[in-house]
């Protein structure tokens, strides 16, 4: 569904992505993990066309995303830090995005209801707390029933209740056969969701393994423990 074909990106002297190649298939739930600054967000932004790679290509449904924008109709993106026009209120932002998407089917307003956003529609974006802004980002990401969901640190900043609601929603969409890509540092949160782990380091894919296989190989009960096991092993080497 999404194929990343040896993309490289330099920011000044810093090589953020170093001919990264990886493929994501429909129905998978992928955890993209790695230390800070390893290129996770840059990889995600290259899929969205927000960052333009120096070389290589990204294929979505077998078509290159270069000079193409319609493919973004099928992607819901929840940024790490949502930035919204400050003098608009929540209702206006939602209306604007609906207006631009021209989506004709039934909108998925489940999160809108469970987060009770309807009561906040008149609040200005600049007055919102970080957590509420995250909720808005989540609502927008799921609103148009996209085939691909890209969630950059989705639960960071959310309270436990909101984060539980989001996790249930992600699980539900995963069972609907959508491709879900999550980056997170909270490995314990990913346990029930994830089917595949992609570990990045210094702009390269260090390993890319099925979650069940990973647990079996390392003989650990949870993904979090399995990964710490591998990391310790690699440091000792």
């Amino acid at each position: 569904m999404i194929k990343i074909d040896s993309i490289s990106k330099k920011f000044g002297k810093l090589q953020v992505l170093n001919s990264t190649t990886v493929e994501f298939k429909k129905g998978e739930c992928i955890a993209l993990i790695g230390p800070n600054g390893c290129g996770k967000t840059t990889l995600i932004k290259s899929i969205l066309g927000m960052v333009i790679p120096d070389s290589g290509d990204v294929l979505v449904n077998n078509t290159s995303i270069k000079n193409n924008y319609l493919y973004r109709n099928g992607i819901g993106y929840m940024p790490q830090i949502g930035r919204y026009p400050e003098n608009m209120n929540i209702g206006q932002v939602l209306d604007m995005i609906k207006n631009i998407r021209k989506y004709e089917n039934q909108l998925d307003e489940e999160l809108l209801h469970s987060y009770k956003i309807k009561d906040l529609l008149n609040k200005k974006m600049r007055t919102l707390s970080g957590g509420t802004t995250q909720k808005i980002s989540a609502v927008i990401a799921f609103l148009f029933n996209p085939d691909v969901l890209i969630l950059d640190e989705p639960t960071a900043g959310l309270d436990p209740l909101a984060s539980e609601i989001l996790k249930e929603k992600i699980l539900k969409e995963k069972n609907n056969g959508k491709l879900i890509i999550i980056t997170s540092h909270l490995l314990s949160e990913l346990d029930e969701l994830v089917t595949r782990i992609v570990f990045m380091q210094e702009g390269k894919i260090k390993f890319n393994k099925n979650a069940i296989e990973l647990k079996e190989e390392t003989q650990m009960v949870s993904i979090a423990k399995a990964i710490t096991h591998i990391l310790k092993a690699s440091i000792n080497e």
């Binding site: 969205l48 960052v51 333009i52 924008y69 319609l70 919204y84 026009p85 995005i97 631009i100």
Partner: protein, 255 residues
Amino acid sequence: MNRLIKFVMLDIIKNKTILGYTLLLSAFAWSIFGLEDNSTKGVLTLLNIMLLIVPLVSIIFSTIYIYNSSEFIDLMVSQPVKRNKIWISLYIGLCLAQISAFIVGVGVPLLLFVPLNIALSMMAVGCMISIIFIAIAFFASAITHDKSKGIGISIMLWLYFALLFDGIVLFILFQFADYPIEHIMVGITMLSPIDMARILILLQLDVSALLGYTGAIFNDFFGTILGALISSIVLLLWAILPFYISLRIFNKKDL
């Protein structure tokens, strides 16, 4: 595209600055024509004020507005919208807002006090100058990520076009007074949209004494009609080129 332009327009109208700008312009225009009964003199005074204020407000307001729209741009880039469209919509939105401010502020008194053909060309020149300096603002904000640097570049560019350019022209003139540099001077004049605009109006007012050195050469060189035509084309190029360069940069920018 239309939807995006609508959002930009509504956002600018909500901003009080553009209203203040309209009031400022109309205060100048009404007081000039109220105090001066010779309409040609009035037009000249207004022209000088206009050529100072309109570029300044256009370039500074637009630069700040573009930087403040970075959230809007970020949001739109992750949606199924062409990058070109986002940038062009911002440009058209800003142009429409500032042109309307100019026409309401200066256009009304011009139509009331000044012969129609001169009033119309004053309005056309004012609109062109607005568009040109908005285009330069887009250029300044495309070349740097840093807001304060971008505004700094804008102020420097305004200073250069509004004040320094004349100084440089005079300097060249005195230094090379012994050589036949008239033709080169015509070319150099085209490097400043403000001078082009001034010449375009003065050619029609028939006050050749006020044309200044470059204006006189221009008049002599091209004659009134061809001169007006060429200066209009140059002005048009000034509106298109900086924006086109900024569009190229924006399309390759990482957000």
